[in-house]
Symmetry: C2
Subunit: 200 residues, 2 copies
């Protein structure tokens, strides 16, 4: 499926075949492609929780407005991010640049974020979403549907999944084989409401 | 180009053909596809600034660590979001659901966000990134390269583009025809650093 077709065909699907089990090879491929999403300074601060345990899924559904896709999709991805990723050693993820660039950029990363809690949080949300969008389009290409979700009690989900204190939850993405299609695509706002040229 | 190829081939490209002018039809298609990205409650809270004016681009470059892609790419997209989108009338963007669902969900949107500044900001970053990732993969499919950027003085860019008070900047994406390829892809962190199963 080409990119245009995948973008057009992706819909938020809420009803899934509960008998479908995602093959390990498909899960590995989805994760491989998700990890190719960009992140600032290539920090790869996204953290992916793959929830398959039925009991945990049922507990999460109970704090997610009882939405069926939480338990019924083949896999529930919880897209998180590490709020302390900027403290890691840049040499772990900065080998792609010429050495002279590494020597300039590496020492810039920590001070760029340190003490700026809003920027750190923004970065968590950006990276979780860039990775999550990549995951949803890759899933569509592989014959799966998905449903990005923020309709849940984030504090209770954090407790259920033992979220580390230095992590934030971005959003959840159930992925599986649809049993019913999503709704018709909602109206798009007209371009003059969402697109502006040169300056606001 | 299929989705897997586009995800694999997308690199952050910093050097562009300064003579290339993006045809209006390509720009329109990029915007059409970007607008198919999902957003919470289908609020479509992303706002896309398309900067082509050379003087504005030069001013932005001056507060973006003098990075060449800001002026040299064919178009500079600044992915923003409206922090008050949850106050809009849901009937503008919620026509896709059955009427009984509209009647339940519509009134939920405003109270879900109101008074929760962090959630509102998170939503801005998520939507800008979901739309931006869609834009970058669509661009790759159409023969363009891109470079997601947060390395700029956001307050100064906000001033240069007359950012409305109720908008936030997510990140910038120069898009154009590369004159030099991006660096080799940086090392990926191993799965055991970014993927966890069932609970942390």
């Amino acid at each position: 499926m080409n990119v245009t077709e995948a973008i057009e065909a992706r819909r938020s699907v809420k009803h899934y075949d509960t008998n479908h089990v995602m093959p390990e090879a498909d899960l590995a491929e989805l994760i491989r492609l998700t990890k190719l999403a960009p992140s600032s300074f290539n920090m790869q601060n996204y953290r992916i929780l793959v929830v398959r345990d039925p009991e945990t899924r049922q507990q999460i559904r109970a704090v997610a407005w009882d939405q069926p896709q939480v338990t019924d999709a083949s896999v529930l991805f919880i897209m998180c991010a590490d709020l302390t990723a900027h403290l890691a050693n840049p040499s772990d993820y900065w080998s792609h640049a010429p050495e002279e660039v590494q020597n300039i950029i590496g020492p810039m990363i920590r001070p760029f974020y340190e003490g700026n809690d809003r920027l750190i949080r923004d970065e968590a949300m950006r990276s979780a979403a860039l990775a999550g969008m990549t995951l949803m389009l890759a899933a569509k290409d592989m014959g799966y549907d998905s449903c990005p979700m923020i309709g849940f009690d984030a504090a209770k989900v954090a407790e259920l999944i033992n979220l580390p204190e230095n992590y934030a939850i971005g959003f959840m993405i159930p992925v599986g084989k649809q049993s019913q299609p999503g709704w018709e695509r909602g109206d798009r706002l007209t371009d003059n409401k969402v697109v502006t040229y040169d300056k606001f």
